[in-house]
Symmetry: C2
Subunit: 294 residues, 2 copies
């Protein structure tokens, strides 16, 4: 009897329990991290901004010169099948295209048949909405855009992983890595925002163009705040009234200390709360959500 309690995956055309889902050790998606992916979440039985995630996923594949035998409609169907098989009403749904396995003896990526995988697992929280994140500013530098195009969502995470360990060493939960000038870039799986007065700053470039980031920007503008997409210096972050992270894995999440010092009063700020509430409210808006036929 298959156990789908930890999630379901689409592998080689079949839906299987995620615990049994495996990929070839020879797939260059693993051996060269030659892959792109996206993560869409399901909340209360509905995908959130699925079309935005699919847009980004197909754009990343094109830039990596990958193609899969599934059109957009087939992809929607596969992702829905994973969620339905898992039975999850709140899920973290990942779609992945890898380069695949080259011909024996060849190192030519053009000999590979690109591979598509997907899985749905229980919703993942970087931190639950009612809790607060302690952040450190790592000196680790984010892989620059001149090396790896950050608009292609990719698995090149060792900079973020090392930042994460630095955070644990310092008693914090997570870290943000920086650019060569020391400006804050992003953390493991999240974008970052700093609020000062009615102005909100988030890095413009060199970071993942997160869908939750985009949603938070749209909400902030709609609420009348000024949103600056410009370099976020450590000084600006440390003297901010509020700082928050955005991610598919948790939505809008307050950061209340940086390097052990309180941001503002060290409590969850009113603007962060306002954007967080609006973010979750959007999940009921048919413009943003796609119901799954369970």
């Amino acid at each position: 009897m298959s156990d789908f309690s930890l999630g379901a995956a689409f592998i080689d055309g079949d839906i299987v329990p995620v615990t049994e889902a495996k990929i070839s050790i020879l797939d260059w998606g693993f051996l060269h991290s030659d892959a792109t992916y996206d993560v869409v979440h399901v909340w209360n039985g509905k995908f959130f901004r699925l079309e935005d995630h699919l847009d980004r996923f197909f754009a990343g594949m094109a830039r990596l010169r990958m193609s899969i035998p599934y059109e957009r409609e087939s992809l929607r169907s596969i992702l829905s099948q994973c969620v339905k098989a898992s039975g999850l009403r709140d899920a973290y749904v990942e779609m992945i295209t890898t380069r695949g396995v080259p011909s024996p003896g060849s190192r030519d990526p053009r000999t590979c048949e690109n591979r598509f995988y997907a899985f749905a697992i229980p919703f993942v929280w970087i931190t639950p909405p009612e809790s607060k994140l302690n952040l450190v500013i790592s000196q680790q530098q984010r892989i620059p855009a001149a090396s790896v195009d950050p608009t292609i969502k990719n698995y090149h995470w060792l900079d973020l992983v090392m930042g994460q360990f630095e955070a644990y060493d310092k008693g914090a939960e997570t870290a943000v890595v920086v650019d060569a000038q020391g400006n804050l870039m992003e953390g493991p799986g999240f974008n970052i925002f700093a609020v000062k007065g009615s102005s909100i700053t988030t890095p413009a470039s060199g970071v993942l163009e997160g869908i939750t980031r985009k949603t938070a920007i749209e909400i902030a503008i709609d609420k009348g705040y000024e949103v600056r997409q410009s370099p976020l210096s450590p000084e600006l972050a440390r003297c901010a009234d509020e700082v928050f992270a955005t991610s598919t894995a948790g939505g809008v999440m307050p950061i209340t200390t940086i390097d052990g010092k309180n941001v503002g009063e060290g409590s969850i700020g009113p603007i962060t709360s306002e954007i967080q509430r609006a973010y979750w409210a959007l999940h009921e808006d048919p413009m943003y959500s796609t119901a799954i036929d369970f």
Copy 2:
């Protein structure tokens, strides 16, 4: 009946045909490229510089804060078992440690049990010894050391993959990526050397400290050449008498054109040939080789 003709792998304590060797889709070695690896080759039934590869592999694991339940002697035994099961006298043998799978719902790498995998496949050539490589100098920048420590052998290859496609677009076989100043760094799986007179230049830092690179440097010094580990500008490469690549996947390989123009006379140079011959001769030296008990 198991078919080991394409190689053998060590997975979960078992030796299996490499075509059946699979890893969990949830392993962060895949999902975050949170892994280190090494490749040692077997030539004529003997590992080449196995201890150097093991040194580097264990050092990389330590820097990534990974550990495996195998000591050095066990590792030697596992790698030998993969080669023996494959029956290959000339093999490309890869050992890999990944972060593993986190606890359900967690994103904390400390909850992962690190995983070890290995496989032996037929020897892989970037190009066979008698042939010549056409190179392009890509404008793609190698991921800098400030982001990912290149002395940890890692799978962050998207910069190299994009360089490779650029080479194909220009009718060449391979590409070298550059640093922020435009100096040549390395290619997909190889280090690069330029010869001018009796002086040989190879990049000092920001590149993988290849074992074949190290061997070529030792040979060159032994033969009385001056070896400069210093920035390798495009000008120096283009006006060089000879240029060559070094890799476990093929040894010492002549590069005879750069961006469509001949290097020197466009033929395999005498110093490249001398180092190439000495490199293969070392494979019979018991100081450098470890016989496998087939």
